[in-house]
């Protein structure tokens, strides 16, 4: 069967399950005895195993299977969760995520078997190691059976019966696995009594198993006879039988801590491989949206209404009737607006999508850095356009790492300064008008302005006599490429990614970022993003006979100036003074490569901002402000600087949207 059509669905669902594994495991770490959590984790692992099996991802299936066993033992109270077990479980989830990444990139799960991890999981249960083979080894029966079965085994022994555990493996090509299993059950029941089956009989009947199941039976017959009887059924590949002689508890504690070095090395290697593959093909499968069906219904209804009113207008156009015609047009207008809203909502997803992976990341980070802090998140349900959400991950990861690494002090230092031992990092999102605001705040030591100044002088960005800068201006240096105030390069800061990258990304998304900091109190990064990238408010301007759109969000103000107010400074650069601020001036017609006769007494200047930096753009004429729908210029024209897209105007003509960041770049 061709499973590729289900791949997208598998990826989406697997991602959800992995996320919920991560979330619930974090909670479990706080409350290791919470049975409900263990149950939920078990369910996710179980479903994931089934899904991976169905798709033919055997390595992933094996790993989840081993994980499921551990969880089952914990669920049945045979295993107590401790931090070593949690570590192995977290590593397992990481490995599952890596499988998923490889699947996203290549469509197959790759060749990594994670034998080390499977062994660690098995050894938690005192199970034999993968390499040594399974047959004939001691079976830790105490973990396989519940008390009821254990008693049945004891009773059988005392009455002179034999107890066998039979691992039945079906042929991988076997169709109707449950029917085959039924035949096995029937055959075995002729020779003895089944006291336990794994998975439970109900699951076997529902085909909720892979190609293996095991049953435990009580019988007077010799093991070999039973084996042969089962093997005589067609499409049974193998039956492994073990006689269970004693029911003495086998403790599983000894091997719990075995997370071997070799295995760790192995898993880091996988990460590398996955990263490489990831970079190559991430775009392929990331553009799907799962949409609330209600929203689509609304959309559908509105579209049908639109079609109806359209035919009505067509009819009216034939025998024109002024008033009715106008009413219809108004109605059409209203529906179009609602349609626009509805479509926008389809594209909106909660920022939770990005936020949800941070608790886990911060937990690991705290361990890595040897610091103590808590991550508090709020406003996870704040919705923002899907395209923005997808791009938001990296900048936020950087800011959070930044807060943990540079912001939060060591516990001892915090105590010395009269702060609570454990730091606080807040990640919050909220709506503010047509914007979404995301804040990353820490209660750490704040940015050391003097240190930044010193560094700026060292780097030649600042002269000794220019020290009367405002704090804000000093902080802006942090956003310059390769500017780091960290003295020693750590695992975290040595990545070659700085705040400049964060800033560029945010600006690409049409947003902006600012920093508030107070020495000794903490730092707060505030990111302001548009709700959607698809529709923006823009100012339409003309140059010669061409119309251009400039996003309103990047315009500070529009002024008229007299020709003689334009001054020329060093190297022929033209500037104007606005409220004692020097603003460089550019001519739009030169930027877009048009010749116009600009012999006017007064010029219209659109002041655009890029961060704090202002640039005046002289335009020919203003046409006014309106909502525009951003359309891509397509792949063939990709990479053109200056133009960030195009829009279709009311009369059907096309106008270019100017990229304010390029306009402002000097």
């Amino acid at each position: 069967m061709d499973m590729s059509q289900y791949l997208g669905m598998f990826i989406e669902e697997a991602r959800d399950h992995i996320q919920s594994l991560n979330d619930n495991m974090l909670k479990l770490e706080e409350n290791p005895d919470n049975l409900q959590l263990i149950n939920e984790i078990f369910r996710s692992a179980h479903t994931l195993k089934g899904m991976a099996g169905t798709m033919g991802f055997v390595n992933m299936q094996k790993l989840t299977h081993a994980m499921e066993n551990v969880l089952a033992a914990a669920r049945d109270g045979k295993l107590k969760i401790n931090s070593n077990i949690m570590d192995v479980l977290f590593k397992t989830v990481d490995a599952l995520e890596e499988y998923l990444d490889v699947i996203v990139a290549t469509g197959s799960e790759g060749t990594e078997q994670n034998i080390g991890l499977v062994n660690s999981l098995n050894s938690i249960l005192g199970k034999p190691q993968e390499q040594t083979g399974v047959e004939g080894k001691k079976v830790s029966i105490s973990l396989e059976y519940d008390e009821f079965v254990m008693r049945a085994i004891e009773r059988a022994h005392s009455q002179g019966f034999n107890v066998y555990k039979l691992d039945v493996e079906l042929d991988p090509n076997c169709l109707l696995k449950s029917a085959r299993a039924y035949l096995v059950f029937k055959a075995v029941e002729e020779l003895g009594e089944i006291i336990h089956s794994k998975p439970p009989v109900q699951d076997i009947e529902d085909e909720k198993f892979d190609f293996e199941f095991s049953i435990t039976i009580v019988s007077k017959e010799p093991l070999e006879k039973i084996r042969e009887r089962i093997l005589s059924i067609s499409e049974i590949r193998e039956v492994k039988g073990t006689e269970i002689k004693e029911t003495k508890d086998v403790t599983a504690t000894e091997s719990q801590q075995e997370v071997t070095k070799g295995q760790e090395a192995q898993s880091t290697e996988t990460v590398k491989v996955v990263r490489e593959q990831k970079q190559a093909v991430t775009k392929k499968t990331s553009q799907t949206v799962r949409v609330d069906i209600e929203r689509l219904d609304v959309l559908m209804n509105l579209v049908s209404e639109l079609i109806i009113i359209k035919s009505r207008i067509e009819g009216l156009a034939k025998r024109y009737n002024g008033r009715q015609f106008e009413e219809s047009i108004e109605y059409l207008e209203r529906i179009t607006t609602s349609l626009h809203d509805a479509v926008m909502k389809v594209r909106m997803v909660p920022v939770e999508r990005v936020f949800s992976r941070f608790p886990r990341m911060m937990r690991d980070l705290a361990r890595e850095l040897g610091k103590e802090f808590e991550l508090v998140m709020s406003g996870e349900d704040t919705e923002i356009d899907r395209t923005i959400v997808d791009e938001l991950g990296d900048p936020l990861i950087h800011l959070l790492r930044n807060a943990a690494d540079h912001g939060i002090e060591d516990p001892e230092e915090r105590v010395r300064n009269g702060k609570p031992r454990s730091g606080l990092i807040k990640l919050s999102a909220y709506h503010d008008g047509n914007n979404v605001v995301i804040e990353v705040e820490d209660d750490g030591k704040g940015i050391d302005i003097e240190k930044v100044k010193k560094k700026a002088i060292e780097k030649g960005l600042l002269k000794e006599d220019q020290l009367d800068l405002s704090d804000q201006e000093v902080i802006d240096f942090l956003f310059l490429p390769s500017f780091s105030t960290k003295d020693k390069v750590t695992n975290l800061s040595g990545r070659g990614v700085g705040l400049d990258v964060v800033k560029t990304k945010i600006e690409q998304l049409g947003g902006m970022i600012e920093v508030n900091t107070e020495k000794g109190k903490g730092t707060r990064f505030v990111i302001r993003l548009p709700l959607t990238l698809a529709i923006i408010q823009a100012l339409l301007v003309t140059v010669a006979d061409e119309i251009y759109a400039i996003p309103i969000a990047s315009i500070k103000e529009i002024i008229d100036i007299a020709k003689e107010d334009i001054k020329t400074v060093q190297k022929g650069r033209e500037i104007i003074m606005l409220r004692n601020q020097v603003i460089p001036i550019k001519y739009l017609h030169k930027i877009v490569g048009r010749d116009i006769d600009l012999d006017k007494k007064k010029y219209t200047v659109v002041i655009v901002k890029r961060g704090e930096k202002l640039t005046g753009i002289i335009v020919d004429k203003l046409l006014g402000q309106q909502d525009i729908v951003i359309k891509s210029l397509g792949k063939y024209l990709e990479g053109i600087k200056l133009v960030s897209g195009a829009t279709i105007l009311g009369d059907g003509s096309v106008a270019m949207i100017l990229d304010p960041n390029v306009l402002a770049a000097v």
Binding site: L633, G634, Y636, I640, V643, I648, A655, M656
Partner: protein, 140 residues
């Protein structure tokens, strides 16, 4: 046997595999895109979709002329990755050409090479779309 669209550029005949062509449009207003190559005339609004338009004459080095009544824009679809419009002088015919019709001889112009096909006494320059879209040629 494959189907080709035969069209005219100045006084020469050209052919392009029909499977690439999505539509043939009459001339329509083209909005210039600043900072692009000369042969990219700009973009058009193709029923709500923004499509770049290339002047095929300029791209492959046939002398420029004014657009006329017969001027058309061939909307070609490159592997579902993007659409591009090609401005040509006149659409003539859609014909089947067999392998025998298509000569192995090639003609070079301005970095581009064309396979020659014979059809009803016409010599047809078969266009390699990949070359036209991606090969950088000297303009002019």
């Amino acid at each position: 046997m494959e189907q080709y669209l035969i069209f005219r550029l100045a006084d020469e005949y050209y052919g392009l595999l029909v499977s690439f062509i999505e539509n043939i449009e009459k001339m329509m207003p083209i909005t210039r895109v600043p900072n692009t190559k000369e042969y990219i005339k700009g973009v058009i609004n193709l029923r709500g979709e923004i499509v770049p338009v290339i002047d095929l004459r300029e791209k492959i080095g046939v002398p420029k002329e004014e657009f006329g009544d017969e001027t058309r824009i061939l909307i070609v679809n490159w592997k579902n990755e993007f659409k591009v419009g090609l401005i040509i002088d006149e659409v003539l015919d859609v014909v089947y050409l067999s392998k025998e019709d298509v000569d192995s001889a090639t003609k070079d112009r301005n970095e581009f090479s064309f396979t020659i096909a014979k059809y009803n006494n016409m010599l047809i320059n078969i266009i390699n779309l990949e070359d036209v879209l991606f090969k950088k040629a000297e303009e002019g």
